[in-house]
């Protein structure tokens, strides 16, 4: 008999009627397993536009669990749904999601229900999805692990895989019934940081500020015009967040967002290992810091030792005059 095919189920995260960019990277990772990729969209709010977007992805089919019990991605109702879908289809050997706040919250719970290990935040996979690489110790070591589990539950670092592109072909949508489960900790409210800027996690340019900015006013006055000029997302070091200069949703690092943009500008950031873990895979790293010994300079492609209060407005002005000259 021929060996059974290995298909992967991908939990597609969405918010406000749009797919999460990292979920598209999870589709790419899942496509490297062996067989087909099956998508799953769950929830009832704004789900129609999500389906329109998702059915153009390179999937074998798209499952839709349309129910209010899945709004806001609650782990205690979603984990039983994921378990049931994986268990009732023998060809589904892998479950993927992006390693976002949602993916991190839901997939380990599903893995526990399946009595299988979690393979978290992978950077790569080999050998038809049996071998995985992932960072440990804040990315200061890369571990290669092999899993012999029958069902593999995996979260994916979004920036480590290209996002799957939408095509023109549309896959079939199959509605699946909700699985009866109690939501033990229901959603009460959300308070989202409203911004017109690109999303930090997926932006192609990021301008980040650190403690050296000294105040929230300085942070805004120095960082914002430069970010505006570059069409960049704004990030911050943990020191800047803890000092109240920037919102904690902007934190880049091991305990915040992991980014890998084309351009990362570190302004007044010393470069603690926890911060480097969140940005060292950026293509071009530019650092401005007064301290020539700051560890950020060890990873910077372009390092300028200077007072940021003078240098950054000057950079912004030069960029300004260049765009006027075009």
């Amino acid at each position: 008999t021929s060996r059974a095919q290995r298909d992967a189920l991908v939990y597609l995260e969405h918010r406000d009627g749009k797919l999460n960019a990292g979920s598209l990277s999870a589709v790419t990772a899942a496509s490297q397993v062996d067989g087909n990729v099956v998508g799953l969209v769950a929830g009832a709010d704004n789900v129609d536009s999500v389906i329109e977007e998702a059915k153009k992805l390179p999937l074998k089919k798209l499952l839709l669990a349309k129910s209010d019990i899945y709004n806001h991605h609650p782990p205690s109702t979603l984990a039983p749904l994921l378990k049931s879908l994986i268990e009732k289809d023998d060809s589904l050997t892998h479950l993927f999601a992006v390693h976002s706040a949602v993916g991190k919250n839901v997939l380990p719970r599903a893995a526990a229900l399946l009595d299988t290990s979690i393979i978290a935040d992978i950077l790569g996979l080999e050998d038809k999805g049996t071998q995985f690489t992932r960072g440990i110790y804040a990315g200061n070591a890369i571990s290669t692990i092999k899993s012999s589990e029958a069902k593999k539950v995996v979260t994916v670092r979004g920036t480590a895989f290209d996002p799957a592109a939408a095509g023109s072909a549309e896959v079939a949508v199959e509605e699946v019934a909700a699985v009866d489960a109690k939501d033990h900790a229901p959603h009460v409210k959300s308070e989202m940081t409203v911004t017109a800027r690109p999303d930090l996690g997926s932006a192609s340019r990021v301008v980040s500020g650190g403690r050296a900015l000294k105040s929230a006013e300085n942070f805004n006055q120095i960082i914002e015009p430069l970010a505006d000029k570059l069409g960049a997302a704004i990030g911050a070091s943990r020191a800047a967040v803890d000092s109240g200069y920037a919102d904690n949703s902007l934190q880049v690092g091991q305990t915040g967002k992991i980014v890998a943009p084309e351009l990362y500008m570190a302004i007044g950031i010393s470069g603690a290992i926890q911060h480097l873990a969140g940005m060292k895979d950026s293509k071009l790293i530019v650092a401005v810091n007064k301290d020539p010994e700051a560890p950020i300079f060890q990873v910077a492609d372009v390092g300028l030792v200077a007072d940021l209060f003078e240098a950054v407005p000057e950079i912004t002005k030069k960029l300004d005059s260049m765009s006027e000259g075009e």
């Binding site: 918010r15 782990p75 205690s76 984990a79 706040a101 949602v102 991190k104 839901v106 380990p108 719970r109 599903a110 893995a111 526990a112 009595d115 299988t116 290990s117 979690i118 978290a120 935040d121 960072g135 110790y137 070591a141 890369i142 571990s143 290669t144 092999k146 899993s147 012999s148 589990e149 033990h184 900790a185 229901p186 959603h187 009460v188 409210k189 959300s190 308070e191 989202m192 940081t193 570059l230 943990r238 803890d242 949703s249 091991q254 305990t255 084309e262 060292k280 071009l284 530019v286 300079f297 060890q298 910077a300 492609d301 390092g303 300028l304 240098a311 950079i315 030069k318 960029l319 260049m322």
Partner: protein, 268 residues
């Protein structure tokens, strides 16, 4: 059995909350990690300390007991799975203010995986009586961010991960969580598993008198062989390597050079 909030409320008009705080001994966050030349792991003959997120969990338990919910918290138990030396980590938790501790002793090199840790914690919840589990959102060695969620799944109870605020009242926990792009609040009945994010609180330092007092607090030691949970790792580590080094370290002398380097890359 893990008691439901309803059972507790039936037993007494007041809910006495026993808090379990699982903690982990990790390589200290300030140590620069060195990968062993044999490619099998990292050099562990370095300074260790309590996982920073776990310190936040211990602190939160103490604040609930001593200030935020006076009279509501009955006891705080710290639990670790680790080598003999992890006793030091438990003593730190006791010196901060935990009442007692449980130490599951494993081999020096055995880094137990999240699923097996979750099963072990569940064993003690089934054995004793805990209404609230407070634990770090991730350990800074394995970086999995999974044990709390797995435990909540095994217990079929509520989970509130990445907590930046926790309130207890009337047998309910209301938790503000850090999510991508902002905050979210969830609320549910105890029992609940809450995992801590950095902004939940500032952990205290243990004072010398409290360190002395901690030496007299009870630690129950259990050998791995006596535990009714199989702690064997399910995943095989093939190799551990240094990350690819960046060819960074280029300095420029002027703002003009910064701008032209960015331009060279086609970014402006």
């Amino acid at each position: 059995m893990f008691p439901t909030a309803r059972n507790l409320l039936r037993a007494s008009s007041r809910v006495d909350i026993n808090v379990l705080v699982p903690i982990k001994r990790c390589i200290d966050y300030a140590v620069k990690i060195r990968v062993n030349p044999d490619g099998k792991g990292v050099d562990t003959t370095v300074k260790h300390s309590m996982n920073p997120f776990d310190e936040i969990a211990v602190e939160e338990a103490i604040q609930l007991r001593d200030t935020k919910n006076k009279g509501l918290v009955e006891s705080i138990t710290a639990l670790t799975i680790g080598p003999q030396k992890a006793t030091d980590t438990l003593r730190t938790a006791l010196a901060m203010g935990a009442d007692k501790a449980i130490h599951v002793q494993v081999g020096d090199q055995h880094n137990v995986e999240p699923l097996q840790v979750a099963k072990t914690i569940k064993h003690f919840i089934d054995r004793d009586k805990y209404e609230l589990v407070l634990m770090g959102k991730q350990a800074i060695d394995g970086d999995e961010n999974a044990t709390g969620q797995m435990l909540a799944g095994l217990l079929d109870c509520g989970q509130a991960t990445f907590a930046s605020e926790l309130k207890l009242a009337d047998g309910k926990a209301t938790v503000t969580r850090e999510i991508d792009g902002g905050l979210e609040t969830v609320e549910g009945n105890l029992p609940m598993i809450v995992t801590t994010d950095l902004r939940l609180n500032e952990p205290r330092f243990a004072s010398l008198p409290n360190i002395m007092k901690a030496k007299k607090k009870p630690i129950e030691t259990i050998k791995e062989a006596d535990l009714p949970v199989d702690l064997t790792n399910r995943l095989e580590t093939i190799k551990v390597a240094e990350p690819a080094q960046r060819s960074g370290g280029q300095k420029v002398d002027s703002v003009d050079e910064v701008v032209s380097k960015i331009k060279e890359q086609g970014l402006i």
